[in-house]
């Protein structure tokens, strides 16, 4: 049997740049740009820039 091929998409964590520890979990294409977006952070109660965490893929 051939080895299982890697998935097309990967699940990632978008962590708040306000360092509150709040994060969103989303998916993106495995071969795609690093995710970044402006999303709501309830810890600071405002919209904040969220950047994909550099750690290995979160399951």
């Amino acid at each position: 049997m051939a080895a299982k091929s890697k998935a097309r998409t990967i699940i990632v964590r978008m962590v708040s740049t306000a360092q509150t520890g709040y994060f969103y979990a989303t998916q993106r294409l495995r071969l795609g740009p690093r995710l970044a977006a402006v999303k709501y952070d309830p810890r600071v109660k405002s919209r904040v820039l969220f950047v994909e965490s550099k750690k290995t893929a979160k399951k």
Binding site: A18, Q19, P33, A36, S46, V48, L49
Partner: protein, 200 residues
């Protein structure tokens, strides 16, 4: 007769009956009875027999005795310190000379359960540090609770967050204006720019 008084009376009847009924008028001295509130060690086997009344029942009896003013009738125990007992007996002895009906009634057979009894069994009162001062929580301890980790770091974390939020607007603006696909990655080599080749 109130329920509290009834309960105390029942206790006295239960404890005193075997001793007093056996020798009705034999001894004039106070009869000795094993304290039912304390554990007793059997001298032959060396084993400890638990108290006849559980701590819960002892506490209930003490409450009822306090309510009906019959504290002096109970033996000392973990729920009734000798100090409280002495205070109760002192107050009753102060009140008895004034009332004439009590003395003759106590001697009659009806209230034999009111007679004085000597309770056998040594009671060592547990020492609670700081009870006299009022602070029982930290008396006799080296360190006080220094607070949860999240409490200790809270100030620093909120300050960091505040600093980051100050320039958040600028950061968002920067993010919105850059077209990310066009930003060259620092890893990839520079694309060659040819001025001779035409785009079409």
């Amino acid at each position: 007769m109130s329920a509290a008084l009834q309960a105390v009376k029942q206790f006295r009847v239960r404890e005193l009956a075997p001793v007093l009924k056996a020798q009705p008028t034999a001894s004039t001295a106070r009869p000795k009875i094993l304290n039912p509130f304390l554990p007793h060690k059997n001298p032959e086997s060396g084993r400890w027999a638990p108290a006849k009344y559980s701590l819960r029942r002892q506490a209930d009896l003490v409450k009822q005795a306090r309510a009906s003013g019959m504290l002096h009738l109970l033996p000392p125990g973990p729920k009734l310190s000798p100090k409280d007992l002495a205070a109760a007996s002192a107050s009753t002895s102060a009140s008895t000379p004034t009332s004439d009906a009590v003395a003759p009634v106590a001697e009659s057979s009806k209230s034999w359960w009111l007679s004085e009894v000597e309770w056998e069994g040594e009671f060592k009162e547990k020492e609670v540090k700081g009870a006299d001062v009022g602070n029982r929580l930290y008396a006799g301890r080296k360190r006080m609770f220094k607070g949860h980790k999240w409490e200790r770091t809270l100030e620093k974390r909120t300050w960091e967050r505040k600093m980051l939020m100050k320039d958040m607007a600028a950061r968002i603006e920067r993010f919105r204006t850059t077209y990310r696909r066009k930003t060259p990655s620092p890893v990839s080599p520079a694309r060659p720019v040819s001025y001779s080749k035409l785009p079409f």
